[in-house]
C-alpha cells in the first residue's frame, strides 16, 4: 500500500493492523480485518466501499468514537488505543472535527452556538478572525441566530462543516455528509470542503458511497470485507464508478 514509511509530520492519522470484531462465537463479524492506512495532511481523502465493507467502522475507530479489537490508530503522534475515555473525549473535542450524515446539530442551539460548540465545551474563546473567515466561506453570516429547525438541509450541513473547521482541528472526519442532500446542495457542500483543504490547509477524511462526492477528493481508498483493496489518486467520478463495478463483481 501507500505510505509504508511516512514521517509523522506529513501524516495526520494512521491505522496499523486495525481489526474490529463484533460478536462472539458463531456470530462473529470481522468489520475490520487488519487495515493499514495513513491519511496525509492537507489532503481530502474519500473512503469507499459497498455496504458492510467496514468503511464507517474504520472512520469511527480512527476518529476515536469506537475502539479497535486489536491493532492501533494514531492521531498525529497520539496512540488513541492507549487513551482513557476522558482523554479520548478531549482529543475529539480539540483535535478532530466531525460532519455526520444527519442529526449534526443540537436543536436547542443557534447556528452560531452550534459552530462554536466544541470550543464552548472546552471553555475556550473562539479565534474571531478565523471564525469569521469560516462563516463567510460557508456563507452563513445571515443565518447565525437561526436554530436548526429554521435552516434547510444544505444549510444545516454547512453549519456542521463550519463547526468542524472552527476549532482548526488536526483532521476532519465526515460520514456521508451529503447523504441526505439533493445534488445542488451536495455540490455546494463538497465545494466548501474542497476549499477548506485547498485554501485553509485542512485535512479531511470522508466516507461516502457516492462516486460524484468521492471525485471531489484528492484520493480514494477502497474497502471490501474489512480490508483495503485499492486506492486511486485524483479520481474522477467515472473512474470511481468503474472501480466500484469492478469490485462488486
Amino acid at each position: 500500500m501507500t505510505a509504508t514509511s511516512p514521517t509523522t509530520t506529513t501524516i495526520a492519522a494512521r491505522a496499523e493492523k486495525a481489526t474490529k470484531i463484533y460478536g462472539e462465537g458463531d456470530t462473529t463479524v470481522r468489520a475490520l480485518d487488519g487495515v493499514d492506512v495513513s491519511f496525509e495532511r492537507q489532503q481530502f481523502t474519500a473512503i469507499m466501499g459497498p455496504s458492510g465493507s467496514g468503511k464507517s467502522t474504520l472512520l469511527h475507530c480512527i476518529a476515536g468514537l469506537d475502539r479497535l479489537t486489536s491493532g492501533e490508530v494514531w492521531l498525529g503522534a497520539i496512540p488513541l488505543g492507549q487513551l482513557s475515555e476522558k482523554e479520548l473525549t478531549k482529543v475529539r473535542r480539540d483535535k478532530i472535527g466531525f460532519v455526520f450524515q444527519a442529526f449534526n446539530l443540537i436543536p436547542t442551539l443557534t447556528a452560531y452556538e452550534n459552530i462554536t460548540l466544541p470550543m464552548a465545551l472546552a471553555g475556550r474563546d473562539p479565534d474571531e478572525e478565523w471564525l469569521n473567515r469560516v462563516i463567510d466561506t460557508v456563507n452563513l453570516r445571515d443565518r447565525l441566530t437561526h436554530r436548526p429547525s429554521e435552516l434547510s438541509g444544505g444549510q444545516q450541513q454547512r453549519v456542521a462543516v463550519a463547526r468542524a473547521l472552527a476549532s482548526r482541528p488536526e483532521i476532519i472526519f465526515a460520514d456521508e455528509p451529503t447523504g441526505n442532500l439533493d445534488s445542488k446542495a451536495s455540490a455546494e457542500l463538497l465545494k466548501f470542503m474542497k476549499r477548506a483543504v485547498a485554501e485553509f490547509g485542512q485535512t479531511i477524511v470522508m466516507v461516502t458511497h457516492d462516486p460524484i462526492a468521492a471525485s471531489h477528493a484528492n484520493r480514494v481508498v477502497f474497502l471490501v470485507d474489512g480490508r483495503i483493496v485499492d486506492e486511486m489518486r485524483e479520481p474522477t467520478a467515472d473512474a470511481v464508478l468503474d472501480k466500484l463495478r469492478q469490485l462488486g463483481d
Binding site: T89, R92, I106, L109, E113, A120, L121
Partner: protein, 849 residues
C-alpha cells in the same frame, strides 16, 4: 395487543419503576394511615371490652352539656351505692372514681410521662371487687392506708420503681409522698394505653379528687340469670328519675369505643389529607409519563394503526399498560402501608406524641381501598394520553415525530385567566366578606387559583425556565446553556413536572407563612397584653397542671407585687360549650392589658364574669347584664357581666374570678402562674426567690416573658415540623416525577447526546447538563409553589385577623431555605437520568438507521 403492552413495559423498566413508585408511595401512605388508625382503634376497643368485661350496668350523673372535649356531667353521691345495692337484680356494685391528674415523680425527682403530649397521668380509687376492678395486682398488695398506693407496671419500669419505694405524687393538692405497696396490670397490659396510673384507697382518692363522699359512677354486676337490659330497667326503676343515667355494660363499652373512634376519625382525616395530596402529585406524574410515552411512540402507534389496529386497540394498549402499572404498584404499596404505619408511629413519637398500639390490623377494606385508589388513579391519569394515542392517524407513521402538539395559546390563556379570576374572586369574598362558612369559600378559591396556575404554567414555563437558567449560562458555560435550553424546549412537559413539585412546595410555603405569622402574632400579643416578669408553666397542653399551693406560695413572696394563676374549665354559655378562664381579678387588672372597654377587672366578684367585646356586641350584652352559665358541678348559675374587653388572644372570650371558679368547679388546678415583681426587685432577685418554691413541683418551669414567647413558638414548631414531615411525601413523589421526565427526555435525546459526546462533551459535562436541567425544573416548581404559598398564607392570615392573626410574617429566611432544598431535590432527582445520559453509547446514538 396485550403482548405489545407487556413487551413495551418490559423494555422500559426505568420509566415503569418510576411511575409505579409514584403510585406506590401514595398508596402506601394511604393504606399506612388506615392500618395505623385501625390498629390504634383495635387497641382501644380491646381495652374497653376488657375494662367493662364484667360490668353489666353503669349508673352515673345525667349529662349537663357537651363540649369539644366530651360530655360534662356531675358526680354521684356515695350514698347512691347503697341504693343501687338494694336493687333486686344487683349482685355487687362498686363506686368508680378517676383523678384526672396524678403524676408520679420518680426518686430522681423526674416526673414519669408527659401528659401534655402523650398518654395522661391518671389516678383511680382502688376497688376491692376484682370483678369490677380493671386492674389486678402483679406484685405486692392493694393499698390499705391513705399513704399507700399501687402504680402500673409500665410506670414502675419507666421510673425504675418497685414495691416499698417512696415516691411523690403531684395532684391539685400540695405534693405528698406515698409508699408503693403494689404494682398492677391493666387486664393483661402493663398500663392502660400508655397512661401512668396511681391507685389510691377509695377514701384518699375522694380526698385527692376533691370529691368527698362522691363517685364518678357506679358499676354493677347482675345476679346470675338477670340480663343487662333487665338490670338496667330495675336500676332505672329503683333510682330517682332524672338524677341518674343508667347504661348497660354493652352500651358503656360501645360509648367509650365510639368516643375513641370519633377522636381517631379526626386524626385519620388529617393523615388522609396528606395521602390525598401525595396521590394528587402522583396523578401529575403518571399523566406526564404517559403523555411523553405516547408522544415518543407516535410512529410506533401509527404503524400499529397502519397495519390494521383500531383506535380502540391502541387506546387499550396504553390503558393496559396503566392498569398493569397501577395494580402492581398498589399491591406493593399495600405492603409498604404496613411499613408506613410503623413510620407514622415513629414520626409522632419523634415529636413527643406516644400512641399505644399492639399488633397490626390490616382490614379487608384497607386492601380494597388501596387497590382501587391506586388502580383508579393510574387509569384516570392515563385516559387522556390514551385517548390522544387512539387519535394518531396512521399517516403519522410516515411523518417525522411531532413531539408535542400544543394546545392553542389563546384557548389555554383564556381558560387559565377565567379560572384564576373566578378563583381569586371566591377567595377574596371568603377573606374579606365576613360570611358564615368563609373557609369553604377560601378553600374553593384556593383550589381554583391552583388549577388556574397549573393551566397557565405551560404558557410561561419556557420564559421562566430561561430566566431561572440565565445565571447558569454565565457560570457553567455551554453545559449551562444546554441545561437551560433543554428545560425550556418542552414547556408543557416541564410545566407539568414542575407543577407536581409546585403542589407540595405551595403547601410548605403556606404552612411556613402561617406558622411564622402565628408566632409573630403571639409574640405581639404577649408583648402587648402581658406586663409580667415571670410565668410558671406546667409543660404544655391539657391533663397537666400545677397545684394551687404553688401559686399561693408565689403570691406570698415579699418580692412579688402581684400574681395570679390561670385555670380553665368547661361551661356552657348561650348554648355553646366553652372553655372559660379564671384568674385573680385584682392581679389581672395590674398584669394583663386585655383592652377593657367598659367595667373593671379589679372590682369583679364571685358572681361576676368578663366577656369579650366580640361576644358582647354580637349578643347585645352590656356591663350589669346577668347571663346564665351552665356548669357541670353546679348547674345553671347566673353571672353578672362586670367587664368587657377587646383582646382575646391570651385568655379567650370569657373570664371569671378565681372565687367563682372555686364555687363552680371540682378540679382546682393551675395551668400557669403569672407574677409581677415589686418595683426595685431585679429579675435575678425575683428568680432567686421563686425558684426554690418550684423544687417540689418537678413539672413546673420558670419563664420570663422572652422565654415564654420561645415556649409558645416551640409548640407551633412542633406541629409545623410534623406537617413538614408529612408534606415531604408529596415532595419525594414530585422528585420521582422530575427523575422520570428527565429519564424519558434523555432517552428521546439519545442522538443529540451522542453528537455532543462525539464533538467533545465529557461524561461529566453530560451529567452536569442533566443535573442543571433538573435544578431548573425544580426551581421552576418551587418559585411557582412559593408564590402561591405566599399568597395563600397572606389570604389566611388576612382572614384570621379577628381571630388573633394580627401580624403577617413572610419568613424570607425560611423560604430561601426551601429554595435551596428544592435545588438539592433537583440534583438528587437527576442522579439516575444523568448517569444514564453519560453512559450512552456514542455510536448507537449517532448511527443513522
Amino acid at each position: 395487543m396485550l403482548k405489545v403492552t407487556l413487551k413495551g413495559l418490559a423494555a422500559h423498566k426505568l420509566r415503569f419503576v418510576l411511575t409505579a413508585l409514584a403510585v406506590m408511595i401514595g398508596v402506601a401512605f394511604l393504606s399506612g394511615t388506615l392500618v395505623f388508625t385501625d390498629t390504634i382503634r383495635k387497641t382501644f376497643d380491646d381495652l374497653f371490652s376488657n375494662i367493662y368485661r364484667n360490668t353489666d350496668a353503669v349508673v352515673r350523673g345525667p349529662t349537663a352539656f357537651e363540649t369539644n372535649f366530651g360530655e360534662q356531667r356531675p358526680r354521684v353521691p356515695a350514698s347512691t351505692l347503697d341504693v343501687v345495692r338494694q336493687v333486686p337484680g344487683v349482685a355487687t356494685a362498686a363506686g368508680q372514681l378517676q383523678i384526672n391528674y396524678a403524676q408520679i415523680v420518680d426518686q430522681n425527682g423526674d416526673p414519669i410521662g408527659n401528659p401534655g403530649r402523650g398518654a395522661p397521668a391518671l389516678g383511680f380509687a382502688w376497688i376491692d371487687n376484682p370483678e369490677l376492678n380493671a386492674f389486678n395486682i402483679a406484685s405486692g398488695r392493694a393499698p390499705r392506708t391513705d399513704d399507700e398506693i399501687v402504680i402500673d407496671k409500665h410506670s414502675a419500669s419507666r421510673g425504675n420503681l418497685d414495691v416499698g419505694d417512696r415516691v411523690q405524687v403531684l395532684t391539685v393538692d400540695p405534693p405528698r409522698p406515698y409508699r408503693i405497696v403494689g404494682l398492677a396490670r391493666f387486664g393483661t397490659a402493663d398500663s392502660p394505653a400508655g397512661a401512668s396510673v396511681v391507685l389510691f384507697t377509695p377514701r384518699q382518692a375522694q380526698k385527692v379528687a376533691h370529691a368527698p363522699n362522691q363517685f364518678d359512677n357506679i358499676s354493677v354486676v347482675a345476679r346470675p340469670g338477670v340480663s343487662q337490659e333487665e338490670l338496667k330497667g330495675q336500676l332505672q326503676a329503683g333510682l330517682p328519675a332524672g338524677s341518674y343515667e343508667v347504661l348497660t355494660g354493652k352500651e358503656v363499652t360501645k360509648e367509650s369505643q365510639d368516643l375513641i373512634g370519633k377522636q381517631l376519625g379526626f386524626f385519620k382525616l388529617g393523615l388522609t389529607i396528606f395521602a390525598v395530596i401525595a396521590l394528587l402529585v402522583a396523578i401529575f406524574i403518571i399523566y406526564n409519563t404517559f403523555s411523553i410515552i405516547v408522544a415518543q411512540r407516535t410512529r410506533e402507534l401509527a404503524l400499529l394503526r397502519a397495519i390494521g389496529a383500531s383506535g380502540r386497540q391502541v387506546m387499550g394498549s396504553v390503558l393496559g399498560e396503566s392498569i398493569v402499572v397501577g395494580l402492581l404498584a398498589s399491591c406493593v404499596g399495600l405492603v409498604g402501608g404496613v411499613v408506613v404505619s410503623g413510620l407514622l408511629k415513629g414520626l409522632l413519637s419523634a415529636v413527643g406524641i406516644e400512641i399505644p398500639s399492639s399488633g397490626i390490623v390490616v382490614r379487608p377494606s384497607t386492601i380494597f381501598i388501596g387497590l382501587v385508589v391506586g388502580g383508579v388513579i393510574t387509569i384516570i391519569s392515563a385516559v387522556l394520553p390514551a385517548w390522544k394515542a387512539s387519535h394518531i392517524p396512521p399517516i403519522a407513521a410516515l411523518r417525522d415525530v411531532a413531539l408535542e402538539r400544543p394546545t392553542r395559546f389563546t384557548t389555554r390563556a383564556a381558560t387559565a385567566v377565567s379560572v384564576l379570576v373566578v378563583g381569586l374572586i371566591v377567595l377574596f369574598v371568603g377573606v374579606f366578606a365576613h360570611l358564615p362558612r368563609r373557609f369553604v369559600y377560601i378553600g374553593i378559591g384556593a383550589v381554583l387559583v391552583f388549577v388556574g396556575a397549573i393551566i397557565a404554567a405551560p404558557l410561561f414555563a419556557r420564559g421562566l425556565a430561561r430566566a431561572l437558567g440565565a445565571p447558569l449560562r454565565v457560570v457553567k458555560g455551554m453545559t449551562g446553556t444546554l441545561a437551560r435550553e433543554n428545560a425550556a424546549r418542552n414547556p408543557r412537559r416541564t410545566a407539568i413536572t414542575a407543577a407536581a413539585l409546585m403542589l407540595g412546595v405551595s403547601l410548605v410555603g403556606f404552612i411556613t407563612i402561617f406558622a411564622s405569622s402565628a408566632k409573630a402574632s403571639i409574640s405581639h400579643a404577649i408583648d402587648e397584653q402581658l406586663q409580667v416578669d415571670y410565668i410558671v408553666t406546667s409543660g404544655s397542653g391539657f391533663g397537666t397542671g400545677l397545684s394551687p399551693t404553688l401559686g399561693r406560695a408565689i403570691s406570698l413572696l415579699p418580692q412579688v407585687a402581684a400574681s395570679t394563676p390561670l385555670r380553665f374549665g368547661p361551661a356552657q354559655i348561650d348554648g355553646e360549650g366553652q372553655f372559660i378562664v379564671a384568674a385573680d381579678p385584682k392581679a389581672a387588672a395590674q398584669m394583663f392589658d386585655f383592652g377593657v372597654t367598659s367595667g373593671d377587672f379589679a372590682t369583679m366578684d364571685a358572681q361576676g364574669i368578663a366577656v369579650s367585646k366580640d361576644k358582647a356586641d354580637s349578643r347585645g350584652w352590656q356591663v350589669g347584664d346577668a347571663i346564665p352559665v351552665l356548669f357541670a358541678k353546679t348547674g345553671i348559675v347566673p353571672l353578672t357581666i362586670q367587664a368587657i374587653y377587646d383582646r382575646t388572644e391570651i385568655a379567650g372570650s370569657y373570664i371569671i374570678p378565681l372565687s367563682g371558679f372555686e364555687q363552680n368547679y371540682t378540679d382546682q388546678i393551675d395551668y400557669q402562674v403569672f407574677a409581677k415583681l415589686q418595683p426595685g426587685v431585679t429579675p435575678e432577685q425575683g428568680r432567686a426567690a421563686i425558684e426554690p418554691l418550684l423544687r417540689s413541683y418537678p413539672t413546673a418551669e420558670l419563664r420570663d416573658q422572652a422565654e415564654y414567647k420561645k415556649d409558645q413558638e416551640a409548640q407551633i414548631n412542633t406541629v409545623v415540623n410534623l406537617i413538614y414531615g408529612l408534606l415531604l411525601l408529596a415532595i419525594v413523589i414530585a422528585a420521582l416525577g422530575i427523575a422520570n421526565t428527565l429519564a424519558l427526555s434523555v432517552l428521546e435525546r439519545t442522538r443529540e447526546i451522542g453528537l455532543l459526546r462525539a464533538v467533545g462533551m465529557t461524561r461529566a459535562q453530560v451529567r452536569s447538563a442533566v443535573r442543571w436541567e433538573s435544578v431548573i425544573i425544580a426551581l421552576l416548581g418551587t418559585v411557582l409553589g412559593l408564590t402561591l404559598g405566599l399568597f395563600f398564607g397572606w389570604a389566611i392570615v388576612a382572614a384570621l385577623r379577628r381571630e388573633g392573626f394580627t401580624r403577617f410574617a413572610a419568613a424570607p429566611g425560611q423560604l430561601a431555605i426551601v429554595v435551596i432544598l428544592a435545588a438539592i431535590v433537583g440534583i438528587i432527582a437527576a442522579w439516575l437520568p444523568a448517569r444514564r445520559a453519560a453512559k450512552l453509547d456514542i455510536l448507537r446514538a449517532i448511527d443513522t438507521e
